[in-house]
Amino acid sequence: MNYSIETENLSLWYGDFQALIDVNSKIPDGQITSLIGPSGCGKTTLLRCFNRVNERYGNVTTKGKIEVLGKNIYDADVSLPELRKAVGMVFQRPNPLPISVYENVLFGLRIHSPIRSMTRTESDQIVEEALTSVFLWEDLKDNLKMRATSLQLEQQQKLCIARLLPLKPKIILMDEPCSALDAKGTGAVEELMEILAGTYTFLIVTHNMAQARRVSKECIFMFLGELIEHRETQALFETPEHSKTADYVQMRYG
């Protein structure tokens, strides 16, 4: 089996507070892996390590090794824009940019290419492809000029996924992507992930254990900055090896 992401003894500090403690993990290629655990246990922090966006949040120290697609992302020759092209992120609250739907989809490409390097036909095609992949094209094809921030939440979240696709990412990190959505929206986003898995590697943080069971093949349980258990989802939920995992998945706390 090939791995998209591997970490070795990864530790991270926010100032003096240690948020990650010796995390060793291997995220397999082309499938959905979920990350569960109580609030504040470092799930989001771990996610943000993989495109090194943690460094934008001030006083952060990282130790250990992170390999993404076989490359150590702390090597001197790693370009952060290129890393972030390959590793996309979807947030808890949909965060489309306050520009049109059309420009949202193209935003990533525009910041990575010379000014005016795309023809209108090319960009039209890119937008159509991306929106089609997330099943938004039919809904929005007549409203491409509309401000993305005025869409419904479910559409906004799908747009945030569509926005990553023109950059041809390999990995999509999702930080509780459904927690702001209703049941229908959640269903739609999960379905979308299942269709896109295979093409992309998904790593999804979720507080919804039913969701972790539904969508992910493997599941990681974290507790207070440590990776406690990483196994096939079904096994982790049904026969947890660790007592903390058992307590959590059976909702005894958290």
Partner: protein, 294 residues
Amino acid sequence: MFTETEIGKQKRWIENGMRVFFLVMTSLMIIPLLLIIGYLLYKALPVLSFEFLFTNPKDNMRAGGLWAPFLGTIYLVVVSLLVSAPIGVFAAVYLNEYARENWFTRITNLAVVNLAGVPSIVHALFGVGAFVLFAGLGESILAASLTLAIMTLPVIIASTTEALKAVPMSFREACWNLGATRWQTIRRIVIPNSISGILTGVILQVSRAAGETAPIMFTGAVFYKAIAEGNLFAYNITEQCMALSLHLFTISTQVPDVTEGIPYGTAIVLVGSVLLVNAAAIVLRVYLRTRKKW
């Protein structure tokens, strides 16, 4: 059912009382403003005319118009903002978008807050020392404008910071995670969504720069100087100029037997131009805001 209890009655009384109290306070703020402007207009009416604005003061400032001080004030305000607006806005962008929280930014922010509270006469002394004497600019429009710029700078930094902070962090996160550099994020998202607030903050400093007397008194403004009437380029920025605020001070306190309407007319022109600029700021803000929704 649903009848008012004792507590309910008490709450209703307090509620009504507080409403009236706040209304009275608001009126206390508005009434003097209207009275001042009304009184000024009433007193100034005899002298107000097109000519008043476009002729120089005459007869040792006992008659004539406002052209030299009016144009002087425009020069001072424009030159000072040309200096302080870019520096202030860009400094605020650096402090907000680039700088990490550390001792340098903490000291800078502390300095900004404290500088904003320094009395204008202190800025005047600094201006004399730094620009007039040390930099060798002499008493000139340039020296006076730079002094005004130093005075408006911290407030522009503070108001720009305010405007930048109002842009939600989630937009920046979205950009960073797509691989945008800080500059791309600033240019494409942060500035377009904060420009109305930034400009409003800058424009509000026009009124401060136009109204201050102390900082220009020793650095470049003179009691009297005749210039070509009707010529917008009548001043040279290396020379001294008249200014509305100082002119008002002079004719109200230093010159006997001034035609009665002239000081009031001067005040009306000063207040009027400031209000006009502020109104323009409001229009601009409304216009830019219609393009911004999230």
